[in-house]
Amino acid sequence: MTMNNKANASSSAGPDNDAGLAVSVRQVTKRFGEKTVLHSLDLSIAPGEFLAIVGRSGCGKSTLLRLIGGLDSVTSGSLAIDGKPVSGINQHTRIMFQEHRLLPWRSILDNVGLGMKGNWETVAKDALNQVGLADKADDWPSMLSGGQRQRVALARALVHRPRLLLLDEPLGALDALTRIEMQRLLESLWLRNQFSVVLITHDVDEAIALADRVVLIEEGKIGMNERVDLPRPRQRGSAQFGELTELVLNRVLAK
């Protein structure tokens, strides 16, 4: 009896269903016409891992994210999420874009609950609460600041309890203070929810502050793969933090 209950619990809402998804990228090449953006790229992401991808503009990092998200398809090679080949948009994957992409004609709460059915309002309110914007539920997106809009976009992504969260430079357009605030929020939500994260960023500091591992993409290939073994929450002022930032930054700037 107890065994049964346990089995039921784990199949409905247990850790198995909520755990982060593994991603495996094998020999992936992506071409747009004549231009080859990704060259036989290999990359694995462990379940629950926070991976940051850095690189210069046009290095192919956003393209890789779009492939993993199922928005584009590979030219050759294979791509799997949780062991299953990627074909289109995965229902456990959510993407947060550089622009907030909120619907301007829907209230904040409606935006968070977009595409949800049933008793969505409580869930959406809860997600808004997690990003600290419960009091903005009835406002229009145009009434919020840039940072607040990205927080709403984050709530919208989290409300679906994604197992893989893809972040395409979502903090790129924010001011320095709002950015640090968002990074902390992101970290705490990730620690609490245990999904896998792929964060695209051009900010090395941000990558090292958040990620378990930092990958550098150069001209469509992996140029560097660096584990970040610093205790969380990470202190930007610490010596190791500085060394690691220096190391990655020098590598990014080398070419």
Binding site: L71, Q91, T93, R94, W105, R106, L114, G115, S142
Partner: protein
């Protein structure tokens, strides 16, 4: 900023009131013949009489029904075609240039043909109104759907919206402001077409009332008819504004 004086709202009305007063004086003094233009008081009196006899209301209703029916027919055709060509490249290729060709024919130029086809009955006028209304709605719906932010559509797909969900949640609201611009243009075309059509050939409606009055030199009734058209036009505009306020609340 200076504070608004209490009489400021009255200022825009000063000139119209002055003109009506001058007009009344000119008519009363005999300087302005009532065969050219009746006095304002005569116009009011004529309107009162016509409304008492019921003639005004029945004609108003006839014109309004015509306008509304033609608008609904032409509007829904223009809207559907606009959605179709805006959302699908294939239909755009197939239909758009044909529609643009037809659009370049001034629809009022068709009146002689329309009279031959339909006589002076209802169908001809509905046809003309529908044709006049269709194109502004078509063009603006097409444009509105075309200019939907691709990023929002992509977002909608990532967040699990169905085809219908994408249309209803993303494309239609996004195109709405453009569509409503089309509606306002269309309302203008609607009255213009109706006035011309009713004046040329009709057996009821405000235009018919004005043309009958012309035969007997009843300039007061002619002016009443003109004012009624102005009033209906204003009413349509108020309606369009109401729709904008209701559906575009988020943009204010």
């Amino acid at each position: 900023m200076k504070e608004a004086k209490f009489y400021e709202p009255a200022i825009p009305w000063a000139l119209p009131v002055l003109i009506v007063l001058a007009w009344q004086l000119a008519s009363q003094s005999g300087w302005l013949s009532s065969r050219i233009l009746p006095s304002p008081s005569a116009v009011v009196a004529a309107a009162w009489e016509l409304s008492l006899s019921g003639e005004l209301w029945s004609n108003l209703l006839a014109s309004f029904k015509r306008a509304a029916t033609g608008f609904v027919i032409g509007g829904s055709i223009g809207f559907s075609l606009g959605l179709l060509t805006g959302a699908s490249r294939y239909f755009d290729l197939l239909l758009d240039s044909t529609i643009q060709m037809i659009r370049n024919i001034p629809h009022l130029a068709l009146i002689p043909l329309v009279i031959i086809w339909f006589g002076i009955g209802e169908e001809g006028k509905l046809f003309l109104v529908a044709l006049g209304v269709m194109f502004p709605i078509y063009i603006n719906t097409h444009h509105g759907i075309r200019s939907v932010d691709k990023g929002l559509i992509e977002m909608g797909r990532v967040y699990g919206l169905s085809k219908w969900g994408l249309f209803y949640e993303v494309m239609l609201p996004s195109a709405m402001s453009s569509i409503l611009v089309g509606v306002r243009f269309a309302l203008g075309f609607m009255w213009l077409t109706l006035i011309v059509a009713e004046t040329i050939a009709s057996d009821s409606g405000i235009g018919k009332m004005a043309m009958d009055a012309r035969e007997f030199m009843q300039t007061d009734i002619v002016v009443v008819a003109i004012l009624l058209y102005a009033l209906l036009g204003k009413l349509a505009d108020v309606l369009a504004r109401y729709m904008e306020r209701k559906w575009l609340r988020w943009s204010r």
